[in-house]
């Protein structure tokens, strides 16, 4: 009886607006989950994204700048730039504090660049996850 009532309430409960949680997740990785009352998920996703970003900075990874040219150049540079931007405040803070590492040859710097992109991609994954939770496509 109680379970049935709970199920009915969940069924009629309207989906939350997804805009604010998704925006918050972009600005501060993991923050949108806290708004949706999933603090454990939020803390874990924030940790993964922030650790990857900091490791990328410590390896002196380079940020991509949007560049166009042939198809491969456009895809790599614009895609990398979008992934960097997806880090939200982490990216803007790093830029504000004057972080500007040149893209030099070497495996450590190269991995650092990939870590900075990976961190942004993890944040995009978190934004999609937050969107699905807010629109009740996922619990």
């Amino acid at each position: 009886m109680t379970t049935e009532v709970k199920k009915d309430i969940a069924a009629v409960e309207p989906a939350q607006s997804w805009f604010l949680p998704v925006l918050l997740t972009w600005v501060a990785p993991g923050a949108g989950y806290f708004l949706l009352k999933s603090p454990e998920r939020g803390a874990a996703m924030a940790t993964m994204s922030i650790v990857m970003f900091i490791v990328g900075l410590l390896m002196r990874g380079a940020f991509f700048e949007a560049q166009t040219g042939d198809l491969l150049t456009t895809v790599i540079y614009c895609g990398g730039w979008i992934a960097n931007l997806a880090n939200g405040s982490l990216y803007f803070l790093a830029k504000a504090f004057g972080y500007n590492s040149p893209d030099v040859a070497g495996h450590v710097v190269d991995y650092g660049t990939k870590f900075l992109v990976g961190s942004g991609l993890i944040n995009i994954l978190a934004m999609v996850d937050v969107f699905e939770i807010a629109t009740r496509k996922k619990s």
């Binding site: 993964m48 490791v55 410590l58 390896m59 991995y111 990939k114 870590f115 993890i122 994954l125 996922k138």
Partner: protein
């Protein structure tokens, strides 16, 4: 700012670990399933790492 310098293998493992945990959290619901999926992703990353590593080794001989 200190500089971090790890080997190829250490960096690839660190990347795999962080990515696998994120994929586990977002890919599944329920703690057990998330842990299992993260472990599966990490195992796949490591397998691909060794597989591609050996492929490149033999490709360069």
């Amino acid at each position: 700012m200190p500089k971090m310098a790890l080997s190829h293998f250490e960096m690839a493992i660190l990347f795999s670990l962080l990515t696998s945990v994120a994929l586990g959290i977002t890919g599944k619901t329920g703690r057990q399933e998330q842990i299992r999926y993260a472990a599966y992703c990490f195992g796949s990353f490591v397998l691909a790492l060794f597989g591609l590593g050996w492929l490149m080794y033999f490709g360069h001989r």
